[in-house]
């Protein structure tokens, strides 16, 4: 894969999955960066077994700030593209390759991976995802299947347009904010279907966080 792309993995207490994630990625990508959010387990020790760059935050700043650190690193090192992937093993390297190929060939500015196997989610998550899809379409007039997918690639040249501010309690909404900013600022956005492992094994949002995200989507559209 092109050396213009930096793959950023955001990790926090992922000692069980990080080795497999890095193993699958290092076969295909030259530049891999792991941003560790001050993990308390052996995540860092496992990362050090691989030829990847590691940034360790001294305190847990949340996902949003880790993404900012990775973006800053990519800017300093003058990469053209940055890809984000979760460290929990939910995403597959071959899907990331598809996303990268899409951004190279289609000349799009942001490529988002969306779960094609929504029927594998439980009812609560399926309803939540559908509500977000409908609300997003209503507000932004564009059909985005998974607005807060953690697997995405974008050009560094659009980083100013899509820059995110979600922090504190809302630090998990950075992906959704990027999507909203990209559509609002007329960036060229493409979507690629991806397969994810059954989501029951992974942390999701609860009802309160879901409602909070809906409020934030309204805020990003109307006020910001």
């Amino acid at each position: 894969m092109s050396s213009d792309i930096l793959v950023a993995i955001l990790a926090y207490n992922e000692e069980k999955n990080i080795a497999n994630v890095l193993k699958s990625l290092s076969k295909n990508f030259y530049n891999i960066l792991v941003v560790d959010n001050n993990s308390e387990d052996r995540t860092v020790k496992k990362i050090k077994n691989f030829q990847v760059k590691l940034i360790k935050h001294k305190y847990n700043l949340g996902k949003s700030e880790s993404m900012k650190t990775a973006l800053e690193f990519a800017k300093i090192k003058k990469f053209k593209y940055i890809a984000f992937m979760d460290a929990d093993g939910q995403h597959k390297a071959k899907d990331l390759i598809n996303l990268c190929n899409k951004i190279f060939k289609s000349n799009s500015e942001l490529v988002i991976g969306y779960r094609k196997n929504l029927d594998r989610l439980n009812l609560k998550k399926r309803i939540g995802t559908k509500i977000l899809q409908k609300l997003f379409y209503l507000l932004y007039k564009k059909k985005i299947f998974d607005i807060q997918s953690g697997l995405r690639v974008f050009k560094l040249s659009v980083s100013k347009k899509i820059y995110w501010n979600s922090t504190g309690l809302a630090h998990y909404f950075a992906d959704a904010e990027i999507t909203c900013n990209a559509i609002k600022n007329h960036c060229k956005v493409e979507q690629v279907p991806i397969t994810t492992l059954p989501s029951e094994n992974y942390k999701g949002m609860n009802l309160i966080q879901g409602l909070y995200l809906i409020l934030m989507i309204l805020y990003w559209r109307i006020i910001k």
Binding site: I55, H57, Y59, E65, I76, G168
Partner: protein
């Protein structure tokens, strides 16, 4: 009458706890002497008003012909809103500074490491 007494007891207990907390924060040097004295006066005043609610009522009704409860409610709401706003802004500024500092330090570490390689 019973409700008034219960409310007074509640506010006295609450104020005493707050005086204790203020004392601890002052000892830990989270508050300077001026803030410490100011907060102690506020809680002491609340205790006084709780013990003798008629004192203020009589003064305001006789002097200005208004019910003190109405005035106090408005002042309390405005004060709460101002205090909430100030602390919210201060927390946001502090959070941004801390995030920036930690991120800058982490980036510095890796850039130095790459330079050494």
């Amino acid at each position: 009458m019973i409700i008034k007494t219960i409310l007074s007891i509640f506010s006295i207990i609450f104020s005493l706890i707050m005086i204790y907390i203020t004392q601890i924060n002052y000892k830990k040097k989270y508050l300077n002497k001026l803030s410490y004295l100011l907060w102690i006066s506020v809680w002491a005043f609340i205790i006084f008003v709780s013990l003798r609610p008629n004192f203020i009522d009589d003064y305001f009704i006789n002097t200005y012909k208004v019910n003190v409860f109405y005035i106090l409610s408005i002042i309390s709401i405005i004060t709460l809103a101002i205090l909430y706003y100030i602390s919210n802004i201060r927390i946001n500024i502090l959070e941004k500074k801390i995030n920036k500092l930690i991120r800058a330090e982490s980036l510095k570490d890796i850039l130095n490491k790459i330079k050494d390689e």
